[in-house]
Symmetry: D3
Subunit: 165 residues, 6 copies
């Protein structure tokens, strides 16, 4: 059987924890689609194009990966792509409950697509895009948490004047 | 004894999970007040009047129910109405902690009103007004999660241009 | 409507937290059955008869209460007694999950009996029969956690030589 | 790629929830090994042979499955079998934490085997072998929770005199 | 050894729960720095100056305390101050996970500063600045939850017209 | 001020996670008492004497430590020793709730002794004496989780015939 998995997220920006999950998914599936949820309504720090660009840079050289954006329902997109699984990383109990609600809802909307949960390295337990953006904003060192090009991009954003809340 | 319970919420919009809790409360109490928290500061998708209208439609025919709005403290409203209990549905651990904090606070403010927790059907575990609004916004099918008039109202809202964040 | 609730438990032994839940249930229901699960397989510290005796002593004077033992399925017993609700006290997240599993199972076995969850006083959050037995065994003061007759009974047990594990 | 997954458990006895997880695993992997942990030290209700027999009966006709017992370390067994993944079903937050500790430990012992978590149908959220054995012991109806041959086997066990704790 | 601890927070406004944690920290450390995170981006109800003023009033008379504001990374500030520990109060499971993520991140940024968790009185379990602001806004009595000068300040704020969301 | 902390536990056997907590406590307190709860009723794998011996070996060279056994109430022992704090390591949400119940109970029994929670290294999140004993029993490699002398002691125990359950 040929199995394709989809790994959706905001990736605003991608972290080392995301990359760890991508590599675990590649060990289990024949192909992995990294799918950037545009989420423009949530005012992401990086535009969809910037996030796609960062992912292309940090994932280059990895085989069997496709990187793309989507903006409708995840299950509709997964079905169009022929994916049989949705990959989610689980770090903590609070993740778990929200992820379970989403996975049950997605199963109701499309029973043939299975959500599977992977566990990132325990050293990435405390990583989240939100915390990393906060540390970068406050001038902290983020080199241990994100790939170099993401660290550069975060520093550029942080040095720009903020024009909206 | 005659016991009156109050079931407060935003109901933005009402879901099948809310209706399930109302029916369970009606089996336990002589009367149930469904109380819409106006919450205008939270920018609800539906106005208080719209939410009251939807509740009147979906609950019509059920006996011993009153539907009303309130905008002060819940416990003050409950006392004015002569209610001896506040009903809350519990779906998940994350619900549980927030609900417990609110219930303890309400008990401190008004010791004579008891908060009781009911468990909706397990198939409604993953239902929340927030997730349903998101699915409707993305064009997903919501007919399994809300009564028909709510589905219609959500579709109308989703096809309107968004004018604020 | 006349509503009868059943409050099941091991009550090995009854604590101030149990009494608090009984009083809350009495404010909501026309009658409350305090039902001692025999649980002989779990080697309780107090025999079923001792637990019934302690409950009769500590609850005497309270109206509309019946105290009894049962040893089959809770839902069968509740149906025989004509109860419409099962009362459970919730103290903590770990309680919550186990209680939810039991309540969902009981609903599957008997859909007409509703489980309702009440919240004891926050000062009883840390009370459990198990912890109190442990403190009594180690010679600690338990007067703040259980009624006087239970404290006496625990002291008697603790001074007896232990003959089984 | 050909991917083999191992689904370990006590299966004492197998439930409808276990079968649901097996079917989900079969949709994702080329083969699934259902691996019965002997766990004789835990005094299972059914012997290893009985559990293997029940699994053979309830899973017969499903393709690409092997059923076997093991009694050493799970990761050693998985490596011997050439499995790249360990499958675990997640039902609740309390599951989650224990499962995470085990999965992190297994990763430390054998980094090349990935633990993946699947979510059973929400109607199986409240199912556990332990609760089903308890209901059977108390004479409750278990036909909705386990396959017919397991229900028969449980009834046979429950009617036997208990000879050990 | 001389040990200095830092107790950071928004303190928007300070509650009786905060004071309880301060007193516990003073019993353990030679000095305690109460550090107000400016958090202007979060639109606090009280300005940094107002929060500092309220803390000076409610903590006056307590020895070995310093009250100050900071707006960069907590660990940088702690190091500058010579603190060996960061104090956090833990009330609930949801607190716990977020606090753990922050503490692990802070340890990564600065391994020599230890985060220690203290437990406020159980009667403060349900207290949070957010809930208290909400009750004050709705006209509820808050005298049991905050010191008198904070109650006065909240009443003043609540009677002002709201000019932003 | 001179502050003495007590770090109680079963230490059956001591793990690298325990040592990590001891070192964190030594950075915060002037002295640390490592207190072995005898817990003979729980049938520990190692006798109290063996556990004391292992702790003496693994902690030798560390200053300001005392290692001792106790078998009454923890708070009585702490008061006799003049300790102002009890140290507990927190790894997970399930730890958290049980530990909170114990800490609240201990505060009730002895208000002057504060329980403080420390967080071990995230790589020790999955370590528990129970899991390590299980791995050793199954013949797995435990050298990464416990000090060498504990690994040796576990191997000796595992090669002995088991004579009780």
């Amino acid at each position: 059987m040929s199995h394709l998995a989809i790994y959706p997220g905001s990736f605003d920006p991608p972290t080392n924890g995301h990359l760890d999950v991508v590599d675990r998914a590649l060990n289990l599936f024949d192909g992995v689609i990294v799918a950037v949820a545009s989420n423009e309504a949530k005012h992401p720090l990086f535009s969809t194009e910037e996030r796609l660009g960062l992912l292309h840079t940090v994932l280059q050289g990895r085989p069997r990966i496709r990187i793309t954006a989507f903006d409708g329902l995840l299950v509709d997109f997964a079905r169009q792509q022929g994916a049989s699984a949705v990959i989610r990383g689980l770090r903590a109990v609070s993740d778990f409950e929200f992820e379970f609600q989403m996975a049950l809802m997605n199963r109701k909307l499309e029973p043939d697509i299975e959500t599977i949960f992977l566990m990132p390295k325990e050293e990435y337990t405390y990583l989240s895009s939100r915390i990393i953006k906060e540390i970068a904003r406050l001038g902290g060192a983020i080199g241990a948490f994100v790939p170099p090009c993401v660290a550069d991009a975060l520093r550029s954003k942080s040095s720009q004047p903020v024009t909206n809340a």
